[in-house]
């Protein structure tokens, strides 16, 4: 299984420089724990890893092969769980999940959906339409997506939100299993999720002290991009 790396990543949101010069590396069986205060770019980095956000500078690669060369292949290798639960109110939990499983390439979407719900401890919601689910159940349903179709790299953005202690323990177990089978995980979190031997990445180390601005003269002063603009 290949190694996923990012090098010299710079994230620009609007004109604000969120982080710069960031490197990371996730090898099979490894986990990456993203830490940092609000606004330090944890979500942005995960979205960047997923491919939703283009890095302003720097590159992402699988075993040295740049992601932009094979975007379809990259998307087949990842699961992304964001803040929104993507649960359709008129579809039952099993239907919701089976759709994503089928799109992700599961051979028997319905069976793997039921198995995944079972694994997350909510087999009873399978036939319940999304609109009747509680926040915690929706969260589990969303997390069940990563089990319903196989993918080596899981990108989990604050997965413990809305989960109770027992569910977090369940999630820890699932992540450990995934890693034991050679999978990779990148998780951002405020609360503690126990991941033995995870690398920690402190995003505030890469956040500039003042807000940067692509349209600020000073940002281009002394040297500048073309190395000739002493203003």
């Amino acid at each position: 299984m290949p190694v996923f790396t990012g090098s010299e990543l710079t994230c620009l949101r609007g004109d604000r420089l969120v982080f710069t010069g960031l490197d990371f590396r996730v090898a099979p069986g490894e986990a990456l724990l993203l830490l940092g205060p609000n606004g330090s770019g944890k979500s942005s980095l995960l979205r960047m890893m997923a491919g939703l956000l283009k890095p302003f500078r720097g590159r992402l690669a699988w075993d040295g092969a740049p992601v932009p060369d094979d975007p379809d292949g990259h998307r087949a290798k990842i699961h992304y769980v964001g803040h929104l639960d993507a649960v359709k109110p008129v579809l039952t939990a099993a239907e919701n999940l089976a759709f994503w499983a089928g799109l992700g390439g599961a051979a028997d979407p319905r069976a793997s959906a039921l198995a995944a719900l079972d694994r997350l401890g909510v087999p009873q919601i399978a036939g319940v339409p999304g609109r009747y689910l509680s926040a915690g159940q929706k969260r589990r349903l969303n997390l069940a997506r990563v089990l319903a179709a196989p993918a080596p790299l899981w990108l989990l953005d604050e997965p413990s939100v809305a989960l109770d202690r027992a569910a977090v323990a369940l999630l820890e177990g699932i992540i450990a299993e995934h890693r034991a089978a050679g999978g990779m995980v990148a998780v951002s979190t405020h609360a503690d999720i126990a991941m033995p031997g995870a690398r920690e990445l402190h995003l505030d180390d890469f956040t500039p002290v003042t807000g940067g601005n692509a349209f600020d003269d000073d940002a281009f002063g002394d040297g500048g991009i073309e190395g000739e603009d002493a203003a």
């Binding site: 609007g14 604000r16 692509a214 349209f215 003269d217 603009d229």
Partner: protein
Amino acid sequence: MHRFANPARFQRLATAILPWSAGATVVLLVVGLYFSLFASPPDYQQGDTVRIMYIHVPAAWMSLFVYTNMAIAAACGLVWKHPLADLFAKAAAPVGAGFTAICLITGSLWGAPMWGTWWVWDARLTSVLILFFLYLGYMALVNAFDDPQRGMRAGNVLLLVGIVNVPIIKFSVEWWNTLHQPASVMRMDGPTVAAPMLVPLLIMAVAFTLYFVTVVLLRLRAEIVQRRIQTMRLTQAAE
């Protein structure tokens, strides 16, 4: 290869160009107005109404010229993520819409004495009217987002869709027109333009182009200032 333009250099370039373009605009406008109002003869058919042509036709040229430039800038903005290209399209749109409005209003004022009606559903008039709506749509879209960056990106896609559609619309409107009103409408291009009329026409066209350059440079400056204000406010909020 730089991934984004250098605003400092742009500001210096703008400072260097602005006095010249502004001055040349004024000079050419004065000369052009002299030629179009005094020094050119009235048309033997259309009389003095032909003087409307000297603003109407350059305005029509500009309306297409500006739109094409915006579409090119949009392509650059989408492909190279060039922030100045995004800003250029946004800054140019009101100027282009202004020229299109001038073209429509003067065309109507020209048509009234010549055709006896303020508006005909002539292919040219109709397609310019649609171009005007495309400008308005672009401006509305760009300003409809809380994140200006997002608005400009969406606007870029719209401009590219528009540039594919403009020829289709023009050709379909011409088709529709010939089907419904076969060749009854007097064409505006009329007889080939004689030299005494060509001179003021060309001078006015250059003057309009320089006016466009001047105003767009000023608007770009204003946009950059707005972006800085926004960034400073965001930074303040983050602290």
